[in-house]
Assembly symmetry: C3
Homo-oligomer: 259 residues x 3
């Protein structure tokens, strides 16, 4: 996948025509389309199948929000049954999360491993939706490494739809610097992370900290092109900054080569 940073879009119910529009205009600027929450279960099946097909025909992986699988399992379905349902709808990507429910660590690993062995692209997610759970960088970092080892392709850092009072974000949607840098210190390869960053200010903050190729998620459909512009210095906020960033990267690379 992409030489650009990954962009994952949050789809709260796009119609066929809206999705066609988005794909035509911005289909080369995003990589995942998440059908938010448990909404996958609410679509008329033929519309759902058509959406999945449309995405795939543009090289975009479509998948249901992690809550969908949490609910299936909580209601007593087996992972095998859930994977069968996903396959019938045409999905080949899924998300394994504990946003609402909690598993034992070995159950989580088993889910990731089995889904991965069944041929699915597996995204896992770390973090809780309920703000009462503290965001503990060492525990999160440990989970990230375990997920990747078990077969997750990327690990999503929870930010919810609003990006406020959850994960690395404070109640106003700003980044909690201490949590954020602590997490970065503890994770071996930050490029395996997709940061949910629904607010444009968060997208900018993460680009400035981690560069234009940072992987970002929960982007609203109407913001995809604006984000692509931001990543490329085609907006005031990154216009001069990107130039400086490139010079630094080149300088660092040259220094590294010279030893």
């Amino acid at each position: 996948m992409p030489e650009q940073g990954i962009t994952m879009v949050l789809d709260k119910g796009l119609g066929i025509r809206e999705l066609e529009d988005l794909l035509e205009v911005a289909g080369t600027y995003f990589h995942f389309l998440k059908l938010g929450f448990g909404t996958a279960a609410l679509y008329p099946p033929e519309i759902l199948r058509r959406k999945v097909e449309l995405g795939h025909s543009h090289g975009i992986k479509v998948y249901p929000g992690g809550t969908w699988l949490e609910i299936e399992l909580a209601r007593g379905k087996s992972l095998e049954q859930a994977l069968r349902t996903l396959s019938q709808w045409g999905f080949s990507t899924l998300e394994i999360s504990e946003g609402t429910v909690s598993y034992e660590a070995r159950t989580r690993r088993r889910l990731i491993r089995l889904a991965s062995e069944a041929g699915f692209t597996v995204l896992s997610e770390v973090g809780k939706k309920n703000p009462c759970y503290p965001f503990d960088p060492p525990a999160i970092a440990q989970q990230i490494e375990a997920d990747l080892e078990a077969g997750a392709q990327w690990v999503i850092v929870e930010g919810r739809e609003q990006g406020k009072g959850v994960g690395i974000y404070d109640a106003e949607g700003g980044i909690k610097e201490h949590h954020f840098s602590r997490l970065l210190d503890l994770v071996a390869d930050p490029q395996r992370l997709i940061w949910e960053a629904p607010l444009p200010t968060q997208q900018l903050a993460l680009i400035r900290r981690l560069g234009p190729y940072v992987h970002l998620g929960n982007i609203l459909p109407e913001e995809v092109l604006a984000l692509a512009a931001l990543r490329r210095g085609l907006r005031s906020d990154t216009f001069f900054w990107l130039e400086k960033w490139r010079n630094q990267v080149v300088t660092s690379a040259a220094r590294a080569e010279l030893g």
Copy 2:
């Protein structure tokens, strides 16, 4: 109408293709489509007629915001003339409100009765758009009962497009508990009310207070599927809660049966 809670959508200018998209994806999850404010008067007539038809063909009642009729009457049109215009456009539902203008109580009753006798589905609305008018639960409750008696099918509780500083909402969009519970105490059948609740936090708050079948209005088109998920426990916020709610309802029913 619905065994589910009613969902009324605020339409600020959807095009034909957008409406087709919404109907295909979520047409079974909403029941009313309100053409907001006085915008009905601004559409090219053939587009307006097509929208009304499209809604009706999916069992959805389309109607112009209450402001439309307030303006017609304020400009000297008779109710009969207004109803004739509505019929020409294809509408069979209308809203009778005093969001901006004020009528005498008997005028209001007469409008509701006549429109109802003319074969229209009548929604009335209580509450003022201007925050200078206090929200007085006893007066509101009295108006609700009078409206229902005069022939209104449902009574909408004003929340405006923003849901802030109006009706039961404080300046931040939170529920004013005292006003809210006082109003509930005074109304004979709360299931005849449709609560305008444009903010997702308000939708959640009202679902938690009045159950998943509560009637909600001024829902944005892009939130219809997310609200349907919320009502069904397909989102983190109601996932566990709905289970508990169902158990309580069953327990109460059993207790009532046992006397």
Copy 3:
């Protein structure tokens, strides 16, 4: 152009079908469609051309955000090269701004004059995107007069996408009364200004101050019909106000005639 106030829409990436929808429903209520930031450079060329054509076929001038040209020139392109690119895409309107970069006054005048002489409709923009630059009414007013003299048709007053902490707006998006009235005092013909006013509260505030025909920009596509309603007294906020405003205008005109 319009007897109504100009409405300029901010397009962050509308697809063909969405644009068709917007034009069918509200095509008579707006006059400019700005492809925001530098996004013009990101569209597949055939989609971009189709959008420009579609707009033109409805009498709407489509143009790239000022940032696009700022970038082209900063990257060493000449104005002639930039105009050639614009022509190839079908544009016949452009914006000359210093939102991010800064030119000498005579360079700015030359750009406006040359683009104008090349047959383009030229919009210029005053104000900086970066909040560190103070908004200085006398300097802004001087720039406005120079731009108009050099050939700009209208001058846009910067408000960015968010309308907060920029130009005439404070950090909450309210109007800084002192700056605003000072600027108005200094400008010979305020009807040559287009005020970027992305927030509905700003649209209302400017209509109340400058009348329903005030020129407004950075309107979101989904707000075009609502703004048209606001301008025409078809919303509660201007329902009674417009009546009073008309009476005042008529009275002033009569007084002026009587001398």
